[in-house]
């Protein structure tokens, strides 16, 4: 699915280079130019403070990319650690950790994130960290499963006999085999993190204005649904296309890594 790769590449470029691509300052308020429709001068129109929507959109891509990468990195790290430890050591450690996972799974993740952010105070750092701290359960389960199935294999037994330290065994031998599924989950997760951040910003609990984030652009624009459609359409499309890109990429990776799914169904 080269579409996915293409979209992502475009996004990364935009995020990194937005200062050069953006025609205008995303924060500068030009109050005389409020709510202008898309035109040659302002490709996507202006918002209620006279700020250029296109420029804000470009800068917003930075936030999305940052949140996606950081949040996912955090939870992949935590999840891998927890899953590996639980799977490798088993017994009481495993039981305790899995109970922790169960507790987290009982509360709708978004609700948990919402509560914590509302109490701790919204900011982009908090959003990244909180998403990271609450979404590691899938990765943990995945890694645990992989570790469990690999732990009894010969090469692991051999390494143990040699006297290799546990951590080295885990890192050098077991984890690399789990990398594939982890990568798939991570890629799909970036899309999810972006959706979560935009939902939080939409509620006013994420990135604070005037820093542009696609979510808070939607929040500021929804009062103008009937008279300034461009305020809501473009950020929404941006989120949609970005998340689509990551999802396509993730699914393509999954198909690549899982040979079981190739082949026909009908004529067996």
């Amino acid at each position: 699915m080269m579409w996915g790769v293409g979209i992502i590449a475009l996004l990364v470029l935009t995020a990194l280079g937005c200062q050069w691509f953006a025609p205008l300052d995303p924060i500068q308020q030009t109050l005389e130019d409020r709510l202008l429709a898309p035109s040659f001068h302002h490709w996507m129109g202006t918002d209620q403070y006279g700020r250029d929507v296109f420029s804000r959109l470009l800068y917003g891509s930075r936030i999305s990319l940052a949140v996606g990468l950081v949040a996912v990195s955090i939870y992949v790290f935590i999840g891998t650690f927890v899953g590996a430890v639980a799977g490798y050591y088993g017994g009481l450690v495993d039981a305790l950790l899995m109970r922790l996972v169960d507790v987290l799974l009982c509360i709708p993740t978004f609700f948990l994130i919402l509560m914590v952010i509302a109490f701790v105070g919204p900011s982009i750092i908090n959003v990244m960290v909180i998403i990271g701290l609450t979404s590691w359960t899938d990765v943990a389960r995945l890694v645990r499963g992989e570790v469990l199935s690999l732990k009894e294999r010969e090469f692991v037994q051999a390494a143990k006999v040699i006297g290799m330290k546990d951590i080295r065994i885990i890192i050098k031998h077991i984890l690399p085999n789990a990398m594939g599924p982890i990568l798939v989950v991570a890629t799909l997760g970036i899309g999810g993190a972006i959706l979560t951040e935009s939902a939080l910003s939409f509620l006013g609990l994420g990135v604070q204005p005037p820093t542009p984030s696609w979510g808070n652009m939607l929040q500021e624009g929804k009062d103008h649904l009937t008279d300034a459609w461009w305020l809501v359409t473009f950020p929404g499309l941006a989120i949609f296309i970005t998340v689509l890109g990551y999802n396509l990429l993730g699914e393509a990776l999954r198909d690549l890594l899982d040979p079981r799914l190739r082949g026909s169904g009908r004529h067996g």
Binding site: F111, A118, L218, K222, L225, L244, N247, G265, R266
Partner: protein, 323 residues
């Protein structure tokens, strides 16, 4: 089997305790206290009123004492009263559950009825145009921010075309309509929120169904069935589908937390009076008893749902036995 169910039920207790502790800890992260919200800057208010509120909320007790009080009351199923309007938490939650159940239940039903056949068909006709169409369609649903879709639909169907109501559960005049029109009114209000809620879930469920079906179809016993000369219908429905459904049931069970928590933003946008909207309000007003109540009840329903899903799993797959 009975022992298994019993064990699972007993396991719920420490889990629920863990959740309550987690929620309680999270709430202490908030600066200020609930008495401050909304009241603080009203210059006409008697200054002793804030103190009275704090006292009645028990906020002046040390933390562990507060938690202990709360825990004691839970054992008698007394979830306390909301800070907001002084009514019992259970009553308030009880008022909202039906609306969320209606929306989520119908959504779940629609997912099963629409997404599963779609996924199965896509798997069966793998790589055909149908498969690709379903993929595209579901990816779109998966990637779209639901609240954005909600706003667009509200604008389109509500304001521009004026076909559907855009908020609330019933119209103002619904009280005076005959029963059949009342149902119609309810459904017309359900339409948009249901569409938005279901659209997002379609992708994952149909994708899952497709994957599951694909795996099953490749199995030896399917090839055997065909070799035996059974008709395609029999192969598909009697053998393949039944087995493919098993993991789907589990998936349904796992989507329960999301369903029960309600879709916070969707319910708020559509003024649908369910648990999601209640949860959002409770978070913004720092209504601790209500939040704890919602947390525990949501968790309880989730755990129960998981148990039911596991039991259904055991029923469907004779190879699974719990002891």
């Amino acid at each position: 089997m009975k022992k298994y169910v019993l064990r699972r039920l007993l396991m719920m207790i420490p889990l629920l305790l863990g959740i309550s502790l987690l929620s309680f800890v999270i709430m202490q992260l908030a600066p200020g206290d609930p008495a401050t919200i909304g009241i603080a800057m009203n210059a006409k208010i008697d200054p002793t009123y804030l103190e009275k509120l704090r006292e009645s909320y028990g906020l002046n007790d040390p933390l562990m004492v507060q938690y202990w009080h709360w825990l004691k009351r839970i054992c008698t199923l007394d979830f306390g009263t909301c800070f907001g309007d002084n009514r019992p938490v259970l009553t308030v939650i009880g008022e909202r559950l039906p609306a969320t159940f209606l929306l989520s239940g119908l959504s779940l039903f629609l997912l099963f009825v629409l997404a599963v056949p779609l996924g199965v068909a896509a798997a069966y006709y793998q790589n055909s145009w149908l498969d690709r169409l379903v993929s595209i369609f579901t990816f779109v649903g998966y990637s779209m921010p639901s609240y954005w879709l909600a706003l667009i639909l509200m604008l389109l169907f509500g304001v521009e075309l004026n076909l559907l109501p855009i908020s609330g559960m019933m119209s103002t005049e619904a009280d005076y309509l005959p029963w059949y029109q009342k149902i119609g009114d309810l459904f017309s209000h359900l339409f948009l929120p249901l569409f938005v809620t279901t659209f997002g879930g379609l992708a994952s469920v149909s994708l899952y169904a497709r994957t599951s079906m694909l795996e099953v179809i490749r199995q030896d016993y399917i090839r055997t069935a065909r070799a035996k000369g059974l008709s395609e219908t029999q192969v598909v429905f009697k053998h393949a589908l039944r087995n493919a459904l098993i993991p789907i049931v589990t998936l349904m069970g796992l989507s329960l937390p999301a369903l029960i928590g309600g879709s916070f933003i969707i319910e708020t946008l559509f003024a649908w009076p369910g648990m999601g909207q209640l949860g959002l309000e409770a978070v913004f007003t720092h209504d601790y008893p209500l939040l704890m109540g919602i947390g525990i009840i949501t968790a309880f329903l989730t755990l129960t749902g998981n148990l039911l899903a596991d039991l259904a799993y055991a029923l469907l797959d004779p190879r699974i036995r719990y002891d």
